[in-house]
Symmetry: C2
DNA sequence: GACCGCTCTGTGAACGCTAACAATGATGCA
DNA sequence: TGCATCATTGTTAGCGTTCACAGAGCGGTC
């Protein structure tokens, strides 16, 4: 009861020659039919089609790639596909690639070292990808990437603007300004910040936008706390902040904590838990804004004001940047696409 | 300032023949060095290695695949890589595949129709995958899959047990029993259930486990509510349940709502929001348990009791199942791997 | 010294496809 | 009718590997 039919033996996959013989034409004509070449008589084409279906023939991609020198495969190096951002980007990216006729192969990274990145890229090169998208918004990784002289085009996602690599990114600075400005407009004297890890480019840009907004408004800039994107680290930062609220009137060394801009929604969740445990009401005593707009954010207690990033658009854009490069290998300037984020106001900042 | 060096022109990638010429040996010897064949003199091997490095030579995977008839590529069809489960599975799976020397190419599905599934598989076949993992725990999809007679092995993830396809799954029934049993043990008269969409196999299995536990305990089985995995649908179900609590003593047609087992954490979040808005305390008036243990669950308000699934293990197991099949094509029985879930008790069920 | 067996290396032929060119027949037009 | 043109098809030669086999050289055994 094996899957192969009858007793024909192991029966190898049919080849173009088999189809040709059955249809009574040359293999080249079969090839022409498959690649939609115009100069094939309709009756011949039909005959070939029938033979193809009858045999269940499929073109051998390796043979094809060998002679055309095109594998039609794109590689992706992703940091952690469990995070909402990278996962969504990957989703949009794969769809875009498929619709342009490419296959995408992904490699995930456990560590963000130059070595791990090189290994990942090596692995992809071994399989002959025509280009890669790197979704590792980590300073060290992007710098290592810039050093590498690769024989195919590379596009980064959130790779920053300082290095000469093509890339797509959301305007993190603007996002941070939207959130911080929103809190200031609500009447808060200043806005505290729980940042992401300092070696992440996104984290850094969000700090910049937050700081600039405060400085432009001429208000005091409190020292930012630093987390690692996880709810737990947000929880720790929240405890620290709650402590300051409690100290309150007593200690006048830093401004009151009445508003916090947290660098991502997961950490904001942790911060809110800490506040809850400390008996602080949100937004009554402290207003909180996050970043990302993960699907859960709307249902947090209270629903979280946050900055939405269109990750699907990011994925799509990265593919179009990459394929554009593949089509015209001449261009070498580092093209950049920037996508605008949007502020989503919910009840964690307005009562 | 193009990426190619000097004025050597477009310069094609070096081939085995180039390496052979430089090292003063035949291409076959180069091949032997690359595949670690024992019968090569050490000095020769070193010479070849040096030539390889000097030229920056890489084996052409297409040519290799053509002659060996092995693409060393595995395909994955995933439903929605934005969900925590599939994403984590993919993560573990990719890592396992890579360590076994395979590349993985993923295709994502927007719709769960037989047609979409077939297209996805077609796409993968076109690129010559040696086998595929299907992460689409949807009844229609799995049934369609069972109909397909594919020329390569297929492994499902959460594909149910009714069909003769190899697969890996978490024991959903057990998970539901753990959660429901936990709530009964805490003294609740019965446990309500917010289920996932009925055409999802996981949802169905969780309903089964929940119902069986109640029946075995000899308590009344309330009618299950149905959501679609999203927090919003959980919110709606929560409103419905909150209404019943309010009706309370008045209406005796169904048992009191004091405990709810929700089929995933995201919906549980929605349920909790609805309860909060209705002024119901968790776990004071109603206890809630979820399923999945997403990273956020621990920081919900209150932290959520839930069932943890080891998705990384699922991914790993699916690859080992698949590669085992590739290595011994004879076996055709539908092997199944079942992974045990674990109950994580937090304060949403105990005060 | 003839023979065997072993190690190391090279030669030639696939693998299944596309590209380039050649060949055929039909058609158009002077 | 003759010649150029075009549509349609076939033939041949690779693409860069690996596999199967052959061959050279060497040491040991009887």
């Amino acid at each position: 009861m094996s899957q192969t039919a009858e007793s024909t033996g192991p029966r190898r996959a049919p080849t173009m020659a088999d189809v040709a013989k059955l249809a009574g034409v040359s293999h080249q004509t079969v090839s022409r039919v498959l690649s939609d070449h115009p100069n094939v008589r309709d009756t011949t084409r039909a005959e070939v089609q029938r033979a193809i279906e009858q045999l269940g023939y499929r073109r051998n991609s390796s043979a094809r790639a060998l002679v055309t020198r095109r594998t039609l495969t794109l590689g992706v190096v992703a940091c952690n596909p469990t995070l909402f951002g990278p996962a969504s980007t990957l989703f949009g990216l794969e769809e875009a690639a498929r619709s342009e006729g490419y296959m995408v192969s992904a490699v995930t990274l456990r560590q963000y070292t130059a070595k791990a990145l090189e290994e990942a890229i090596d692995h992809l090169s071994d399989w002959g990808v025509e280009g890669i998208v790197v979704i590792v918004p980590h300073r060290a990784a992007v710098e290592a990437l810039a050093e590498l002289r690769l024989p195919f085009p590379v596009v980064t996602v959130e790779g920053g603007h300082s290095l000469p690599i093509a890339g797509v990114s959301v305007d993190q600075d603007l996002g941070a300004r939207l959130a911080t400005g929103h809190l200031l407009a609500a009447g808060h004297r200043t806005v505290w910040h729980v940042a992401g890890p300092s070696d992440w480019l996104e984290a850094e840009a969000r700090v910049r936008g937050w700081r600039a907004t405060l400085e432009e408004a001429g208000v005091e800039v409190p020292p930012p706390l630093v987390g690692d994107w996880t709810p737990l680290s947000g929880y720790r930062a929240g405890q620290e902040l709650a402590g300051r609220v409690a100290a309150g009137q007593a200690r006048r060394s830093s401004p009151d904590v009445t508003a916090v801009f947290v660098a991502n929604d997961q950490m904001a969740l942790g911060v809110m838990r800490a506040f809850r445990e400390a008996g602080l009401s949100v937004p009554g005593q402290v207003a909180i804004a996050g970043f990302d707009d993960i699907p859960e954010a709307e249902f947090f207690a209270p629903p979280l004001t946050t900055v939405r990033q269109d990750f699907a658009a990011v994925g799509k854009a990265s593919i179009s940047l990459l394929t554009r490069r593949l089509d015209s290998p001449g261009r070498s300037e580092a093209e950049r696409v920037v996508i605008e984020p949007r502020l989503i106001v919910r009840s964690s900042t307005v009562s």
